[in-house]
Amino acid sequence: MTTTGTTDGARAHARAQADAAIAEYWRTVPLEEPDVIWRETVEQGNYAVRVLPRGARLRLSDPAGDTCVQLLVFNHHQRAERLNVADTVKVQWQAYLGEGQLLLSDMGRTLMSIEHDTSRGHDTFNAMSNRAWNAEKYSSDGLYDHAPNARDLLTVALSKAGLTRRDVAPAVNLFKSVIVEPDGAFRWEGDQSPPGGEVVLRADMDVLVALAVTPHVLDPRAEYRASPLHIEARAGAPAPADDSIRTSSPEALRAFENVDDWYRGRPAALVGVTP
């Protein structure tokens, strides 16, 4: 038993807390796992932000089957270049994201490829929640309470990477599927995600990723609910010339050619960059 009435006591009290922590939520990866460059569990109402080197594999998994992730991606070196949801669906002639598809930047380059996907689908149309949305739906007052909204979470996350509120561009919602009916209306399919689904994204450039774990805006449940997201990223090799995603369409091929062109004369990949 320590007392916090003195500096010595307060220090001892502070240091004792780590001993009781739950290992699953530790962010620091042990030194004996050099391949693992990021491991983190993000619970509902929380966020994560990280730089990943070109070639890294980012595995996002949904052990309980009820997560929902709002994902933003930037070119780490030139952060005015970012995920463009409109270009992503228009250039690939396809609105429903899945295995083999690219997350395209607004500069005609692939930021990440969906290398593997066992989820039941994602959503490229709908909003991330904002303060007004969560006030209405969950009686939330802001970031600090029981129902933080995705926009405020991602604003804080990006601020830590030197970006601002202006950089919170449209995101993709992962792990919750929405279908467009013939008349353009949305049909919610989000309840069908099985436990254990996962998405593996390959970083096709050095990227900054920021994500929030919050309920989808079309989630019909009255309660604020999203199950924890498990994140694990490992170092890896960029797409080779004969990569099946690179060669899957003329549009994909040119998106990789534009990446190759951008990297011409630049260092191969980043190592050990923060955040």
Binding site: N84, V85, W93, Q94, A95, Y96, G108, F125, D167
Partner: protein, 211 residues
């Protein structure tokens, strides 16, 4: 009102004929109306709108679609901001629907869609960036937009694409500003897909003091 290039409007604040391929921006006060007139037909008008008081609050295609539960814009659609607030409302449209999924053409996306040889063609993103720059804004402020008079059907399997237009000469859309806003427009210069009938043409932008 009647629509068409010759239409006469009351209480006109400004009346501008935008050349084919040209950019435009204007501050529009709460309660004022903007009439966008497709003079020759099948001319896509790429459109963004920002809060005049705090331009970081800006058009959000996603918030707009989520709030109305539908991907297509039509009469009654409310163009919402990234904070969920109404920026403008489409009060009348004599084209069935408008697009907000397909975003703006850019040199870079053209290179993916049509080949690297299109990389030096003029594009909407350049118009947007040029016009934003006049107002102290830039690429960080650029987000997916509205495409008036552009037809982008989303099919059952998720396939989507820019297909032949459903507009015609003199068709128009009328918007009411719900707050003081800045609208930024690119009269689309695209020549590689049917959004402009492969032939960009002028459009007319009329701001009136009321409906």
């Amino acid at each position: 009102m009647t629509s068409g290039g010759q239409a006469v409007f009351e209480h006109v604040v400004s009346d501008t004929t935008l050349a084919a391929r040209a950019p435009w921006s204007q501050r529009i006060r709460a309660g004022q109306h903007l009439h966008v007139i497709d003079l020759e037909g099948n001319q896509a008008v790429d459109f963004l709108v920002y809060s005049a008081d705090d331009p970081i609050e800006r058009y959000s295609a996603a918030d707009t679609m989520s709030a109305q539960g539908n991907v297509y814009l039509t009469t009654g659609s409310v163009l919402r901001s990234n904070e969920g607030r109404p920026l403008m409302t489409i009060v009348t449209s004599n084209v069935d629907r408008h697009d907000t999924v397909g975003g703006a053409c850019s040199r870079e996306s053209n290179s993916l869609r049509y080949g690297h040889h299109t990389n030096h063609q003029h594009a909407c993103v350049d118009n947007f960036l040029h016009e934003l720059a006049q107002r102290g804004m830039g690429k960080h402020d650029l987000v997916p937009n509205v495409n008036f008079f552009m037809n982008v059907p989303v099919e059952g399997d998720g396939s989507l694409g820019i297909v032949d237009g459903i507009s015609g000469p003199g068709k128009s859309v009328e918007l009411r500003a719900e707050m003081d806003v800045i609208v930024v427009v690119s009269n689309c210069p695209q020549i590689n897909n049917p959004c402009n009938g492969f032939n960009p043409t002028p459009v007319r932008m009329v701001v009136s003091a009321s409906g």
